[in-house]
């Protein structure tokens, strides 16, 4: 069996036992990328030499019996939103083309300090704005189950790379569903931690009050290891939480018995495609069979989530993207005078979706509209959070679909931004509420054979229970087969 079929934890065990070397694993991953990525488009750049050097160092540590932990020597992929010192970082935008950051993101530092081997930077929607990866300035990524379909977005490259066995795990970021939706579409496990659980330092900002880095992995246990490796307070991010980080592996195999899963009635209605609803129902049945209780809950304000989100996120984005002015970094397009130079630089550098959101956010914050749009949306956000607080009085986890449909075809929605935005309808609530949420595969849909994800939303900072519940389902239903779109 190829090393690439091992999960991250299995590889780690093999490396620890010196049954495999990081050089072999890294070489296999790089070869797989080489062989498949021309069709898949998961990577924007592959850092083969650095990866091989890191693998060599990891093997030497293993030989000395001085492994740095479970990630030492494990080949991973990073969404191109994480700054990597000395390695071009673009957020899939032309406005950062060629930019080589002088520092690394906190999570990158932490992964490197634990010996992880970084294979390269994965494709994404420009500035994480999108749900299909079609907003990348460098071409779309495709779904390894069906190359004519989207892998989801914005962390599409990370999800596809993991699902396609190009990497043993990856990091993405989630603002309104950008980890969970591509995980669901591509058949991976994706976890958006509680806001503040993982440092945002060195993560290119989209919407600061929503952005949160998190793992994409092939198994729930792999996601647990990755989260444990990057979570925890960072002095450079004042929104990162000082709460102690749980041991996510400790209770992982604890099963679902006794857990109460609340299913919001608003999430299982007309808005969900039949085959998706069917798979989610079966997953809930499986939980019941495992001794969990499934109860009805209501999130009455979740239907307002998309509207609130598409005011808050663009407003913050319009401000976060003001620094791309061609003064200190990035390409500049000269115009007559300062003002025109700014406008030309930005117009040439940003793709249509960032422009749309900058426009929307600028409008929502502008004089006379702040109260009606931004402030109102932040109040609705409070209501969305209260819904969850209320629901958690009668359940331990909220459960439902990740997306209303399985992965759609590339090009299907690009001309209708609003329709694209509605792909996030179920993921946005947890984002607004700042709560931890996860997508775990729950089989393939009957019609198309595409992966379906089950979404679980946890209590504040209770990633451990999310992982435990997801692991129970994973163990019950067995692994997905390898994606058939990319032999």
């Amino acid at each position: 069996m190829s090393l690439l079929e091992l999960s991250l934890r299995e590889l780690s065990a093999a490396l620890a036992a010196r049954r495999a070397s990081s050089r072999e694993a890294t070489g296999a991953a790089l070869a797989r990328i080489e062989a498949t990525d021309g069709r898949l488009g998961a990577f924007l750049r592959v850092t083969g030499e650095r990866a091989r050097a890191a693998a060599l160092a990891a093997d030497e540590r293993a030989a000395r019996g001085a492994r740095l932990g479970p990630l030492d020597g494990v080949p991973l992929a990073l969404k191109d939103i994480f700054l990597t010192r000395g390695v071009e970082t673009t957020a899939a935008s032309r406005i950062l083309q060629g930019w080589i950051p002088p520092y690394s993101a906190c999570v990158v530092e932490r992964l490197e300090a634990q010996g992880a081997v970084l294979l390269g930077k994965t494709n994404m929607d420009e500035f994480a704005m999108g749900s299909s990866n079609e907003n990348s300035a460098y071409g779309p990524c495709r779904n390894p189950w069906d190359l004519s379909r989207t892998p989801g977005g914005s962390s599409g490259g990370s999800a596809a790379a993991v699902a396609a066995r190009q990497a043993f795990g990856a990091l993405g970021t989630d603002t309104g569903g950008s980890i969970r939706e591509p995980a669901a579409f591509s058949g991976a496990v994706g976890l958006k931690p509680n806001y503040g659980r993982v440092s945002r330092y060195g993560v290119i900002a989209f919407a600061s009050s929503l952005d949160q880095p998190g793992p994409l992995a092939r198994t729930v246990g792999d996601a647990a290891v990755l989260l444990g490796a990057v979570a925890g307070r960072d002095d450079r991010d004042m929104t990162s939480s000082a709460r102690p980080v749980d041991d996510y592996l400790a209770g992982l195999e604890g099963g679902a018995r006794g857990l109460r899963l609340g299913v919001p009635r608003e999430w299982m209605g007309e808005g969900v495609d039949g085959p998706v609803r069917e798979r989610v129902r079966q997953a809930l049945e499986a939980y019941r069979a495992m001794g969990a209780e499934v109860v009805d809950v209501s999130l009455p304000h979740s239907r307002y989530g998309v509207a609130a989100y598409y005011l808050i996120a663009p407003a913050e984005a319009s401000s976060n993207l003001a620094r791309y002015d061609g003064v200190r970094f990035g390409p500049r397009v000269a115009g007559k005078g300062l003002r025109e130079t700014y406008a030309r630089t930005r117009s040439a550098g940003f793709g249509p979706e960032p422009k749309r959101r900058i426009m929307l956010g600028t409008y929502a914050l502008s004089a006379g509209y702040y109260d009606a749009y931004y402030l109102r949306a932040q109040k609705v956000r409070t209501l969305v959070r209260r819904d969850f607080d209320e629901a958690f009085r009668s359940c331990d986890l909220v459960a439902g679909p990740v997306t209303p449909t399985v992965a759609f075809r590339l090009g299907e929605r690009v001309d209708d931004p609003l329709r694209m935005y509605l792909a996030d309808v179920f993921t946005i609530s947890a984002s607004l509420a700042a709560l931890p949420a996860l997508s775990v595969p729950c089989g393939l849909d009957a019609a198309l054979g595409m992966p379906v994800g089950l979404q679980l939303v946890g209590r504040p900072f209770d990633e451990a229970t999310l992982l435990r519940a997801a692991r129970a389902l994973e163990r019950e239903q067995g692994p997905l087969p390898p994606p058939r779109g990319l032999p």
């Binding site: 994480f82 700054l83 970082t89 957020a91 950062l96 930019w99 950051p101 002088p102 520092y103 993101a105 945002r200 330092y201 060195g202 993560v203 290119i204 900002a205 919407a207 600061s208 009050s209 002095d235 450079r236 991010d237 004042m238 929104t239 407003a315 913050e316 319009s318 401000s319 993207l321 003001a322 620094r323 791309y324 002015d325 003064v327 200190r328 970094f329 300062l338 003002r339 700014y342 600028t362 914050l365 502008s366 004089a367 702040y370 931004y374």
Partner: protein, 482 residues
């Protein structure tokens, strides 16, 4: 101002806080480095960077708030002020908007029955911008230096309580002295670490409705503030008197011409799109922080000013000069303590604001750096009061001790500056002086009584300033017959 017009004036002061590191990153705040040598990803506004709040900056704001009698908010909120400018790397300034750290309070100015309180509206924290440098290249391009970007600022906004350029200058001086006193600002207007903008309007005398105001920028000295306000008032009055209307605008003071002019970059009306800064949680100031700052608060200059007059009998002017500088005030207090007698206060004060102030000015040294220590000053005063040293000799002693740091008594001894009070010895000198000036003696006898001073001066010259003036006067009176 003119009698027919009332001037209404408020100041917005930006004071750079004396922290070692910047507001939101660990870069140095030191002035004068090579451009862009004191920067990091945060103050450069690089993608992915996040602000990390400096504790001392908050403590200093609380200290100032307490000193000015403000209400210190236990929870204040950071906001982003969005606009594009090359010296603003992130495209927004982190500031405080709806909920500033301090509100209310005031600063008393004036003396001699004209004391009044200038009310404050608010005090908030924010970060400074970088510096645009003009004409750095032959093609007229500008340059951007971000060393100053992110340096912590305290913005202190007064109510429109000021009524003249004089009052504005007085308020600004008092505020500057207070901030320096509190150790939060270096008071340097030229280097821009203490800056002010003025909101100026005029209205018909006695009218209730305020006139349209203009904001004036770029006044980096007290003199320029006075000039700018006086010019702006004249300008607005002229506009109104000729039947025109004052336009609300931002105007720059041009020091070369002594005029204000409308800024050229009028662009669109400013729309800063303020919103709460999502990268910074609300600023929580706990009771312990407030209490610690309250305990550490020194006696404030205005209170000390009053006490020096009431308890020690100093004049308002001398007291004012002493409290204008914390170092001088502290020196005074130490010297007084060393003297051990409150009666020494006036003499100590006189020397401090007189000869010592002159010496300090000449050398540019702050009291802490003087070789003359407070105990020296107390010793000198003792020598003066006991008559061991006379006034003119005392001045020499002061200068020598200031120069060398040697104790006054030792200087007196070495230089033989002890006062001559021996009547017999002085009598001989007086006789010599009178004998040498028969014409003057004659004129004095003829009624020119003011020649007495001349004779005293001659005796002093003969004795190298050491003669006891009282004894000399008595002897002269006896010899010249009253």
């Amino acid at each position: 101002m003119t009698g027919e017009w009332d001037v209404v004036l408020g100041l917005e002061v930006h004071a750079q806080l004396l922290t070692r590191s910047k507001a939101f990153c660990g870069c140095s705040t030191a002035f004068g480095a090579e451009p862009n040598a004191q920067v990091c990803p945060v103050c450069l506004g690089l993608p992915g960077s996040l602000p990390s709040l400096n504790r001392r900056m908050v403590e200093m704001a609380v200290r100032v708030g307490l000193a000015l009698g403000c209400a210190v908010r236990r929870k204040s909120v950071w906001a982003r002020k969005n606009y594009f400018y090359p010296d603003l790397p992130k495209g927004y300034q982190i500031s405080q908007y709806e909920l500033p750290v301090c509100e209310g309070g005031g600063l008393e100015i004036g003396a001699g029955g004209r004391e009044r309180l200038v009310r404050l509206v608010r005090i908030h924290l924010e970060e400074d911008a970088g510096k645009n440098l003009h004409d750095v290249a032959p093609d007229g391009s500008s340059g951007v230096d971000l060393n100053r970007a992110g340096v912590p600022l305290l913005e202190i906004v007064s109510a429109p309580d000021l009524r003249s350029a004089d009052e504005a200058v007085e308020y600004l001086k008092a505020l500057r002295a207070l901030l320096v006193w509190l150790g939060v600002n270096d008071g340097n207007l030229e280097e821009g670490s203490f800056r002010c903008d003025a909101n100026v309007s005029v209205k018909p005398a006695g009218a209730e409705k305020l006139g349209t105001r203009c904001e004036i920028k770029n006044m980096n000295s007290f003199r320029f503030l006075r000039q700018a306000v006086e010019f702006e008032v004249r300008r607005q009055v002229a506009v109104l008197e000729s039947g025109g209307a004052v336009e609300q605008e931002t105007r720059l003071f041009d020091p070369a011409r002594g005029e204000t002019r409308a800024m050229r970059s009028k662009e669109e009306a400013h729309d800063y799109r303020y919103f709460p800064e999502p990268d910074l949680p609300p600023l929580l100031v706990d009771e312990a922080t407030v209490e610690a700052q309250r305990r550490a608060l020194p006696e404030l200059p205005r209170a000390l000013w009053r006490r020096l007059q009431a308890e020690l009998g100093l004049s308002a002017q001398d007291a004012g000069l002493l409290v204008a500088d914390r170092g001088v005030a502290d020196f005074f207090a130490e010297a007084l303590a060393a003297a051990g007698r409150p009666e020494a206060a006036k003499r100590i004060a006189n020397l401090l604001v007189g000869d010592l102030a002159r010496l300090a000015n000449e050398t540019g040294l702050a009291p802490a750096a003087w070789k003359l220590r407070p105990a020296h000053l107390a010793e000198l005063v003792r020598l003066l009061e006991s008559g061991a040293v006379g006034g003119p000799a005392g001045k020499q002693v002061l200068e020598e001790t200031f120069r060398s740091g040697r104790a006054p008594a030792a200087v007196v001894e070495e230089r033989g500056l002890a006062q001559l009070s021996d009547e017999a010895a002085l009598e001989a000198v007086v006789d010599r002086v009178l004998a040498a000036s028969p014409a003057e003696v004659e004129r004095h006898r003829g009624g020119k009584k003011n020649l007495l001073g001349f004779f005293v001066g001659q005796v002093m010259r003969e004795t190298k300033g050491k003669a006891n003036p009282a004894v000399v006067n008595a002897l002269l009176a006896k010899r010249l017959g009253g």
